[in-house]
């Protein structure tokens, strides 16, 4: 299989700081991969190395089969930096027209690109008057130029409202469907879970896990929380019947490992009249994320 982005044993140090240690990662055509991690986990550094902005110390990086930062690589890679900025004196239209010309495309395409990100009305206003969300959309518009093979997006949805976020992910889905690879970083697992194919969690410069959300759930094997509501007056009985349960306001709460879940549910069902309701809470995305990203005692 050929990958649009292939990283093997990538290492980067800044002085004594190990920004990235033996990072390996591959993104196939049409695949959407989310890069997660705390501030300082190495997400932005990894992206800058992929873009050829920062040199790396060891390991191999291949972008569309070329060396990162080479002309061939830059021709087919789009980037959206974190907190993207533009010259305030230019209008959105002029800025996008400039980027189009740098990619050897006609400047007339700017209107269409800005319309795709919902900025048609503001295209002729100076970027200095834009809100953060609007600047972010200009950033998205320039990332869409010329059907890139690989999109590197550093926290692309920061500053966007929920509706814009949904539109943005819809745009990404379209690009991925056409065969583009997408590598995006985010702080929020809840946001990317349904919109990406794979999650890579970085912690202190190391890949701590890499897989689909279902795989991560399995790997983490975090306990499932159950809340059993008792029928009137049966709370003590219920607590006695379920070892390890703690009584609370309306019933009892208990936790169990994933593999014991069905057994426990069967037992609760067998308690018959004592039980009014059962609430099953699988580990939340935040729990899973914390589990992986805090391995190093952070």
């Amino acid at each position: 299989m050929t990958y649009n982005l292939e990283i093997a044993d990538l290492t980067k140090t800044f002085g004594d700081v190990h920004a990235l240690s033996d990072v390996s990662l591959a993104v196939a055509p049409g695949e959407r991969v989310a890069l997660l991690g705390h501030n300082g986990a190495g997400k932005s550094t990894l992206m800058k190395i992929v873009l050829g902005l920062v040199p790396h110390d060891a390991g191999k990086v291949s972008v569309m089969g070329a060396v990162p930062g080479s002309t061939a690589a830059r021709r087919s890679v789009a980037y959206l930096p974190e907190n993207v900025a533009f010259h305030p004196a230019l209008t959105g239209q002029e800025q996008i027209a400039y980027y189009l010309r740098l990619r050897g495309l006609p400047a007339a395409g700017a209107t269409d690109l800005l319309a795709r990100v919902g900025l048609a009305d503001a295209a002729r206003r100076r970027i200095g008057t834009y809100s953060k969300g609007m600047r972010q959309r200009v950033g998205l518009a320039q990332a869409l130029i010329g059907a890139p093979g690989l999109l590197v997006l550093d926290e692309p949805t920061s500053g966007l409202d929920p509706v814009s976020r949904r539109d943005f992910y819809a745009l990404l889905d379209g690009l991925a469907a056409e065969g583009a690879s997408i590598l995006l970083s985010s702080h929020a697992l809840t946001e990317v879970e349904a919109r990406t194919d794979r999650l890579v969690i970085l912690s202190a410069g190391c890949v701590v896990t890499d897989g689909a959300l279902a795989d991560l759930r399995r790997q983490a094997d975090l306990p499932v929380h159950l809340h059993v509501t008792a029928r009137d007056g049966h709370r003590e009985q219920l607590a006695a019947a379920l070892p390890g349960a703690r009584m609370n306001g309306t019933g009892v709460a208990l936790s169990c490992a994933q593999r014991d879940k069905l057994g426990i549910l069967a037992r609760i069902a067998g308690l018959g009249d004592m039980v009014a309701d059962i609430d099953v809470q699988p580990p939340s995305l935040e729990d899973i994320y914390s589990h992986f990203s805090r391995r190093d005692g952070q």
Binding site: L51, L53, H87, L102, G104
Partner: protein
């Protein structure tokens, strides 16, 4: 080439919106008007036409003003992009750093050229209006114009180099002012002091001409004064102009923009976004 032109178009637009075009033109025009007014005294005794005398005065003006305007426009060239955070994105585009600098140079040189053109045209018009025979001095004015552009190019590139070295606009501005002071003001004062102390010895005859050629501003002045008939009307440095052939001064004026551009590109390459 498309990428250089695209960059130049954007930079020119930014210069226009930042009022740099207006400021540069107004500055050159104002100084030219003042100079023309001050130089309107009778010049028959010098045996040169009025425009040639004006050109000699404009040369002294340009030596100060052209580098200053060039440095003011260019100090932000790289540092501004770093500060605004626009550089990383730009460098992920299929454009080389030399193309980016070439585009900026083209735009800023256009602004400077426009300012020089307007300023000198005002002075020339004033001279010819008073004395129609002054049209004889037009070749000298034309020479001053293109050599001013070359001088400007040299200082624009030096400004980019400082901008890339400083990486912060405030630091770059400080360096640019320091460079202007040293190269335009203190350099000549230092040379003058050395020549006076030397009293016509080895330094004055052997080293001094080369030191003059080594500074683009001095080379520019020498070239324009040596080529002009009205040298005597000009500054004290005119005396040296007779000792140095015009082609040597021209070589320096031509070589400096290239050297400075190479410096700027080398400094820009060291900037990690």
């Amino acid at each position: 080439m498309t990428r250089i032109l695209a960059t130049a178009a954007v930079e020119f637009r930014i210069a226009l919106r930042n009022r740099w075009v207006a400021i540069a033109i107004a500055m050159m025009a104002l100084f030219s008007v003042v100079l023309s007014a001050a130089g309107s005294a009778p010049t028959g005794a010098l045996g040169a036409d009025r425009l040639s005398v004006t050109v000699a005065s404009l040369t002294s003006l340009a030596v100060y003003l052209v580098p200053l305007v060039a440095l003011l426009m260019s100090f932000d060239g790289v540092a501004g992009e770093v500060e605004r955070g626009t550089l990383p994105l730009l460098l992920t585009y299929p454009v080389t750093r030399s193309e980016v600098l070439a585009g900026k140079l083209l735009a800023h040189l256009g602004v400077l050229g426009l300012a020089v053109l307007v300023g000198y045209a005002i002075a020339a018009a004033a001279a010819i209006a008073v004395e129609p025979a002054a049209v004889q001095g037009l070749p000298a004015l034309w020479r001053l114009m293109w050599s001013s552009a070359l001088l400007g190019a040299a200082f624009l590139c030096l400004g980019y180099a400082l901008s890339a070295l400083a990486r912060r606009p405030a630091g770059a501005a400080g360096l640019a002012i320091a460079l202007w002071l040293v190269m335009i003001v203190l350099y000549d004062l230092g040379l003058l002091a050395a020549v006076v102390a030397d009293g016509g010895g080895w330094f004055t005859t052997q080293v001094f001409p080369w030191l003059l050629l080594a500074n683009p501003a001095d080379a520019f002045r020498l070239f324009n004064l040596a080529a002009s008939e009205a040298t005597a009307a000009a500054a004290g440095i005119g005396g040296a102009a007779n000792a140095i052939p015009a082609w040597q001064a021209l070589t320096s004026v031509l070589a400096w923009p290239l050297l400075a551009l190479a410096l700027a590109v080398a400094a820009f390459r060291r900037v990690t976004p």
